[in-house]
């Protein structure tokens, strides 16, 4: 075990996997930075969030590819190469820009295996920093994972801590299906214990972060960290909750969810998305269909409001679901008669 940041854990995986498999390559805007221009240093940035730093010096320009601003083609580049034997890792600088790359993601990557009757394999990973909390306003703060989760053929990964970041990205790179990997911008600096060496976390297996009989809190990505914060205060008042970290929203670990619901009968789903067709509604709907007999109270959905992400600090702070919202929702669900 080594204590490192979420960013460094992701960076370490790309070093390890590119070392291990010469078919793995990385492409995106400024993944190294410094190409062309009067170039002081060749690797001038290592990714705008620093996640790909150190790759260029080690693996060279052929496998660490700085690209023009062409999101759809960045994904297409990785997809096309992956259909032809490589394992491409495409970085889309902000998840919001998937709006430009959805065709290659949804209509191409997601469907090749199916449309070809299983002949095609598309082992591509699309890394996307997502989420609000850094005052980047409406076009640089969206969640997007609800949209990608709705697309059959895509796997959706949302690590909530450095160890999972490492284990899930390793699994993603080795997976033969296209994976969209959601990294919360506000978590890159988060530190945690990370297993040394090779470490894989399987898809479709949620983590039971905390155990308790009073209610089930289901969260993903950064929302897990907020749910954790709310646990302490609740515990002080004698409220003990299961906290389920989905880790991957697709595939979904249905068993872990249903087992916990059967035990507690009271559910709070926490999701950074706006409410409509969100993962929160998806899980709440799933429970209404498959866990109904165990339900003792209305499922509480803690989400952002149905509006774009506001810029102003105070507004954004109030916009993003936080520990206070979760705390209130849990108290509501446990007190329901």
């Amino acid at each position: 075990m080594t204590v490192m940041t979420y960013r460094d854990a992701l960076n370490q995986v790309m070093h390890q996997e590119m070392e291990r498999d010469s078919n793995v390559f990385v492409c995106g805007e400024d993944v190294s930075g410094g190409a062309g221009g009067t170039s002081g240093e060749r690797e001038a940035s290592g990714g705008i969030f620093g996640v790909t730093s150190g790759l260029l010096p080690k693996f060279g320009e052929d496998r660490v590819i700085d690209t023009p601003i062409s999101e759809n083609t960045i994904v297409g580049l990785a997809v096309g190469a992956s259909l032809a034997g490589k394992r491409g890792i495409a970085e889309i600088m902000f998840a919001d820009f998937l709006g430009l790359a959805l065709d290659q993601t949804m209509n191409q990557a997601a469907k090749f295996r199916y449309m070809s009757g299983g002949k095609a394999k598309c082992p591509v990973v699309i890394r996307v920093p997502y989420g609000a909390g850094m005052n980047m306003a409406a076009q640089h703060s969206q969640t997007m994972y609800q949209i990608i989760t709705s697309v059959p053929g895509l796997k959706v990964v949302m690590p909530s801590n450095p160890a999972d970041a490492k284990g899930l990205l390793t699994t993603a790179i080795r997976d033969d299906d296209p994976v969209v990997f959601f990294e919360h911008k506000a978590m890159y600096g988060r530190k945690g214990e990370v297993p040394d060496g090779e470490y894989l976390v399987p898809f479709g297996q949620a983590a039971l972060v905390n155990e308790g009989d009073d209610a089930t809190i289901i969260a993903m990505g950064r929302m897990v960290t907020f749910a954790e914060k709310s646990l302490a205060g609740l515990k002080d008042d004698g409220v003990n909750c299961d906290l389920i970290d989905l880790r991957t929203t697709s595939p979904l670990d249905e068993d872990t969810i249903l087992d916990s619901v059967e035990k507690t009968g009271r559910v709070v789903v926490v999701d950074e998305c706006p409410p409509r067709c969100s993962v929160a509604s998806d899980i709440a709907g799933f429970i209404a269909s498959h866990g109904f007999s165990s339900l003792k109270a209305p499922v509480q959905q803690v989400t952002a409001p149905h509006s774009p992400v506001p810029f102003s600090k105070d507004l954004e702070r109030a916009y993003v679901p936080g520990p206070a919202h979760i705390d209130a929702a849990v108290r509501k669900v446990v007190s329901y008669k």
Partner: protein, 325 residues
């Protein structure tokens, strides 16, 4: 300065073009019977392009195709019977009947798929070319696209991307004068496709797409360039389609006699027979034999496809990971 081709080469090229032609002419009839569902875009008229390009390629080379992909598939070596079965939606099809006409693919043959999204093949081909570049074995990737596809951002981005990463990608633009019901002279603002690829910094050749020899010679030059690692290229081939955009298209946007005229004046098969006759490279008799064989092959493909079973319902949820059942 036409490149010398052996008799065998010429006979194979003729067989390929003829196979595409008869495949499509037969489909045109089959579709009227209503047995074939969905969208079918026929390639008749453009055979010289697919064959003139693919005769230079082997299975390790990669191509990315379009909605009008049957010709590219046949030229790249896809099994004609398995293609026909796919178009009929049968379990014996190249994609088990799950893809259909717009999604025929054969990855073992370096055929990365027809594509229902106009322009999507551009980025995919540059990716395939990147794969070839990383392997360093001189392979190339060809992106087929129409005159309409050069107005799609994806293709324009892909051209720039190919130049930036120096990928061995070749953009083959088949200018048949129309994108669906709209003229290329309208939708291509500049009325000049070759100038676009040149402005992106690519070696570009424009040639007659109804002349197999012109296509073959142009591609020879571009492929030398790309295989040598000198960068991506573009070819614009002027051609025509003998049927509507898709089957069922009344083609009101075309002059009444246009197709008839083109079938007389721009038929790449006629052109081929004429030129090999004048040069004496081939005997008509040899080609007549091929015609016979091709018709039999197509007949057999249709009969087999008709007789083949539909995929079983379980296939709906195979070839994709399933969650939330």
């Amino acid at each position: 300065m036409a490149i010398q081709q052996s008799k065998d080469q010429l006979l194979r090229a003729y067989r390929q073009m003829k196979t595409i032609r008869e495949f499509e002419e037969r489909l045109h009839k089959e579709i009227m019977t209503g047995e074939i569902a969905g969208f079918t875009h026929l390639y008749s008229g453009q055979e010289a392009v697919a064959v003139g390009v693919c005769e230079h390629l082997d299975e390790k080379d990669l191509i990315v195709s379009t909605h009008r992909g049957h010709g590219h598939c046949i030229a790249k070596g896809c099994d004609v019977k398995a293609m026909m079965a796919e178009i009929f939606g049968r379990a014996t099809g190249l994609g088990k009947g799950k893809g259909g006409s717009m999604h025929i693919a054969d990855f073992d043959k370096g055929m990365l798929g027809a594509n229902g999204i106009v322009g999507a093949g551009g980025p995919l081909a540059v990716g395939a070319a990147l794969s070839a570049k990383l392997d360093g074995e001189g392979r190339v990737a060809v992106s087929f696209g129409g005159d309409g596809s050069v107005n799609q951002g994806a293709v324009l981005e892909a051209m720039n991307m190919a130049v930036v990463i120096n990928a061995p990608a070749i953009f083959v633009i088949e200018n048949n004068g129309y994108s669906e019901h709209t003229g290329a002279d309208y939708a291509v603002g500049s009325k000049d496709i070759a100038a676009r690829s040149e402005a992106f910094g690519m070696k570009t050749i424009k040639a007659d797409g109804c002349d197999y020899f012109a296509v073959y010679d142009a591609m020879a030059e571009l492929l030398d360039h790309a295989r040598a690692g000198k960068g991506p290229c573009t070819a614009e081939f002027m051609t025509t389609r003998f049927f509507g955009h898709f089957e069922g298209d009344p083609q009101k946007y075309r002059a009444k006699d246009e197709v008839k005229r083109h079938r007389q004046e721009m038929d790449c098969l006629k052109n081929f027979r004429n030129s090999v006759a004048t040069t004496g490279a081939l005997d008509a008799a040899d080609m007549d034999v091929i015609d016979e064989e091709v018709l039999n092959l197509i007949e057999e493909a249709v009969l087999k496809a008709r007789a083949a079973p539909s995929p079983s319902p379980e296939e709906i949820t195979t070839d994709v990971y399933i969650s939330y059942q």
